[in-house]
Subunit: 247 residues, 2 copies
């Protein structure tokens, strides 16, 4: 049985002042986020937002012909549903659970009320949104210029940063959907990484064995996003905990 998530596991919730968190607390509902669960569909008016703790949610753009591309990924550093506080109420993308786990659900009205106080949460969410923008921008550039091999590395690193262990439950087919490439392309890229001893995989499970090497094989895109996210969110998590000490 999954245990109840705690606020400290989500960076945004952790960074809130006690006062602000106390206001939200009665309305934060611990929620299971099973693999493949669609939190919202393209164009849906969002009613809730989600704060993942140990789960990962993909923001996926699905085109008319069914082909898809992952726009960005949200884990315990963020929130799913930014359109609620940005004012649009919906976006043309799908939010789907990429790695099962848990999180907190919060009714949009409560979030908006707290956001409208223009206190700590307001500040936090805008900075987080900028980090998300950086990730999207980098994804656009990466899609244009880098190979499947490199992009798989980037994707693995982004996922690993949001998980507690070094193993991921995910088929190559699903990874292909995220990257917007063919499944065979992922098979081939994964094969190379396994041959190099960087990862080990079998039937829907991928384990990272040599992270430094994975970073070396990756394009610059991962590092740029990581560095910028750290910069933007570091100022957030000043006090309680020191974030990963990015060299």
């Amino acid at each position: 049985m999954t245990q109840t998530p705690v606020y400290e596991d989500n960076l945004l919730l952790r960074a809130l002042t006690d006062e602000a968190r106390a206001r939200l607390e009665p309305n934060l509902k611990p929620t299971d986020l099973p693999l493949g669960n669609v939190l919202y569909e393209s164009g849906d008016v969002m009613n809730d937002v989600y704060f993942p703790t140990d789960s990962i949610v993909s923001l996926l753009y699905v085109m008319e012909d069914g082909r898809s591309a992952e726009i960005s990924v949200v884990g315990n550093e963020g929130i799913v549903g930014i359109a609620l506080f940005m004012g649009g109420q919906s976006t043309p993308s799908r939010a789907i659970v990429q790695s099962a786990g848990q999180g907190f659900r919060l009714k949009g009205s409560y979030l908006k009320a707290e956001f409208a106080r223009h206190g700590e949460l307001h500040h936090l969410l805008l900075r987080y949104t900028q980090a998300l923008i950086t990730q999207m921008a980098q994804t656009a550039a990466c899609n244009r210029h880098h190979s499947i091999d490199q992009q798989l590395c980037r994707w693995l690193l982004l996922s690993m940063d949001r998980l507690k262990d070094n193993e991921l439950t995910m088929t190559q087919e699903l990874i292909a959907n995220m990257l917007g490439v063919r499944r065979e392309g992922v098979t081939e890229a994964a094969h190379k990484l396994q041959a190099a001893g960087v990862i080990e995989y079998k039937r829907g499970h991928i384990k990272v064995l040599n992270r430094p090497e994975l970073e070396r094989l990756c394009c610059e895109c991962y590092a740029v996003v990581k560095k910028e996210s750290d910069r933007l969110l570091e100022q957030i998590s000043n006090s309680p905990f020191k974030k990963m000490s990015s060299g």
Copy 2:
């Protein structure tokens, strides 16, 4: 020589309440934005923001090896420098004038002060930012799945929407940099469009002759972004002070 821009030419400035605009007005400096002018470089701390009136600014991501990709484009519907009010002060992208014209420059401190009042400008800028996010997300997906031919159509349409006439001053080389493809690829795509009577070009000038056909040849990406931008910004230009009061 060029005449002074007026506030009404920028959608965001136009949508402000008279009161808010009166506060900003003394500090809005009419500015020439010549082709190729770099408003800010990747990582620069931004001191000013810009409200284009008849110019177009590209947000361009430049990679380590020099290859580039346009992330989004800003014209008279928007503002350049969102990182200032989002809280990050800088972004890893370059803002460069893609089509010469004019705009208003505003010191960041003034913008931040007005933003911090949490009035109309605050509301406007967040909605605009969401529209920008949509454009970036769509760009990422388009880069993944669509042909150069289609992307050139998208790019032309996005540019045309931000210009008063149907002619653009821009070499194929520059377009190639924006799209992140080879110049020859653009030459070929432009050639096809000209043969089809959709555009006419010569040495750095492109004229759109048949816009409906251009839209037909384009991938869905243009329409999605246009529709979503209209949705998000329409509510802006409705009435002077229509609150969102969403229940």
